[in-house]
């Protein structure tokens, strides 16, 4: 709202009550650029903004638009950033989940069981071999005992078995004078006669 005024009379309409009320009721923002730097009218006070000259008013109006443009650019950038960030967070959460041992190394549990089985097999083998060794040693001990108790061993110590027809003679009553007996030594048989 401007008036390229000269005299004070030209400015007077802008002091009218009806003008003031109209300015007040106006839905559009009003910049008042009426008159000169130092002359004020009622319109100046009612308006949303007062400019000292019309050119100054133009500057003020344009400035607002520039400010708005900057604001819009700011909002625009914030929107872009917010959206990017949102997706980045989603992506991060997903990557973190997939980094879990459950997905990165799913065979781990199965391999652990394989190892367990291997260990048990080894243990079984170990145990059975030991058992076998123990039994074998037992047997060796028994065999050597048996060996030392064997009548044939006795023969190596100088004894011999008197036999008639393959049967051992156990008593002097079982032989008669001049009877022939077999004497069995460790290394063979020889005939002998009872005197």
């Amino acid at each position: 709202m401007q008036e390229d005024g000269g005299s004070l009379e030209d400015l007077w309409p802008f002091n009218e009550e009806i003008v003031a009320r109209a300015i007040f009721e106006s839905k559009l923002p009003i910049i008042s650029a009426v008159g000169h730097e130092t002359d004020f009218t009622i319109a100046d006070f009612v308006a949303d903004l007062r400019a000292p000259t019309p050119s100054a008013a133009a500057e003020l109006a344009v400035s607002d638009v520039e400010e708005l443009k900057l604001k819009l650019l700011g909002y625009n950038n914030r929107l872009k950033l917010a959206l990017k960030k949102k997706v980045e967070l989603m992506r991060l959460r997903y990557e973190k989940c997939m980094a879990s041992r459950a997905f990165k190394d799913p065979l781990q549990r199965i391999n652990e069981q394989y190892i367990r089985i291997d260990m048990m097999v080894k243990s079984l083998q170990h145990n059975i071999i030991n058992k076998y060794k123990d039994r074998k040693n037992e047997m060796i001990t028994l065999v050597s005992k048996l060996d030392s108790l064997s009548p044939l061993k006795t023969l190596t110590r100088g004894y011999c078995i008197a036999q008639i027809d393959g049967k051992a003679v156990k008593s002097i009553n079982d032989v008669k004078k001049d009877e022939e007996v077999d004497l069995r030594f460790i290394d063979g048989k020889k005939k002998a006669k009872i005197l």
Binding site: K80, Y94, F103
Partner: protein, 74 residues
């Protein structure tokens, strides 16, 4: 944002499966079944993410292009 709702649920299920498998309380059959399900969910999540990332980068490029034109005119 309908896709986002699916992502939320899917990733939640995926995280739950990861926890269960990590805890190691399941028997072998259950573990394999859960793992298979996890792989399916993982693919869904990945697809949603890639799709969203693509669309956003296109939108941003388009938007930047419009801005540049305005500056030139002024």
């Amino acid at each position: 944002m309908k896709e986002e709702a699916n992502f939320e649920e899917t990733i939640k299920n995926l995280e739950q499966i990861a926890n269960e498998l990590e805890k190691d309380d399941l028997n072998l059959d259950e573990s394999v079944a859960k793992f298979e399900q996890g792989m399916k969910l993982s693919k869904i999540c990945n697809d949603i993410l890639e799709n969203a990332e693509k669309r956003i980068s296109i939108l941003i490029k388009k938007d930047d292009g419009v801005d540049e034109e305005n500056f030139n005119v002024e």
